[in-house]
Symmetry: C2
Subunit: 193 residues, 2 copies
């Protein structure tokens, strides 16, 4: 299976606004391994940049410390391929800030796709999503993934589409966000057999 060409593509890992297990709005904390795994996946699939979206100043500092270690610190020497992956990581306080930066880079606002393990309105099938990703070569696109219990309703409201859930075999679909990003990018960006 071979990768396909596609529109300028961004991934956003959202820590706010998300919900907790009871559906209440929260700001989640950064999980170190999310940054590693998702940066490596994004780098593998040719994603232009991976935005870590978190409004808390302490979390921005944490992210910058992690990035410094791998980009210029000891990590860059001991693990150059990890350094390569971390080069595409960006910080944004809000989804709006990430969208603003992408618009500034391409002269066009990105289309926004949300992801969710649940069904609902505005769903786009995997097949339609793949076709759409291959069209409008100059319009960028950002795919948003929620941490914690998933993206809050307001993110679905502002999104153009919500990607069809990854279906489990027997109704169990509680993937980690790290696994969900990996499967989503592979489904969207690899030429099928």
């Amino acid at each position: 299976m071979e990768p396909i060409t596609h529109r300028p593509l961004y991934v956003g890992l959202v820590h706010h606004p998300v919900v907790n297990r009871r559906g209440e709005p929260v700001t989640s904390a950064i999980t170190n391994l999310d940054i590693h795994d998702i940066a490596r996946t994004c780098k593998t699939y040719g994603v232009d940049a991976f935005y870590v979206i978190n409004p808390a100043p302490s979390q921005q500092i944490l992210l910058e410390e992690i990035l410094a270690h791998w980009l210029t610190g000891a990590g860059a020497k001991t693990n150059p391929t990890r350094c390569e992956a971390f080069k595409i990581v960006r910080y944004a306080a809000t989804i709006a800030q990430a969208v603003h930066e992408i618009r500034a880079a391409w002269g066009a606002a990105p289309e926004t796709w949300a992801t969710s393990a649940k069904g609902g309105e505005k769903r786009i099938s995997w097949e339609a999503a793949r076709m759409r990703l291959d069209s409008s070569p100059h319009t960028p696109l950002i795919i948003l993934f929620g941490t914690g219990g998933g993206l809050a309703q307001e993110v679905f409201n502002l999104s153009d589409f919500i990607v069809e859930p990854i279906q489990g075999k027997k109704g169990y679909n509680h993937l980690s966000v790290r696994s969900a990003v990996a499967i989503t990018l592979d489904r969207l960006l690899t030429r099928r057999m």
Copy 2:
């Protein structure tokens, strides 16, 4: 995309024999999040059991402590879906022990597939692997994933096949083992569009 039916299927996460970044044989330590992510992925795709393979007695104790927390301890109450995923986790000291248990359960030795980010001999394409998974309904199969720098040569030697690498877009294919398991199971077990 819908899941497909398949042979009795097992996943093995190998901590020995694996190699480190310099290609030297080592035993790696268990990463807590590997167990969570891979158990959740395996549960999602209907894998029969997920073997954590590590010969170190201290690592067996660590795994049993993690499992106890999620199966019968505080974790089982606070997060029942995580508990569901942990029910399919098994410990084995060696690959041979996992193979022995699977043979005892099904009356036939499992076919063994290794995985690797590199090319080489005995490679089976994704398409051929999918067809093979769908055949011989009574012959079990175990897919082995390496931690650290990947599986050691002796694992490739004992395996029937080595699954084709997951190709990166620009030659970068340094996925985490968590992401590699997710993409591999999705490619093998989900009906393509």
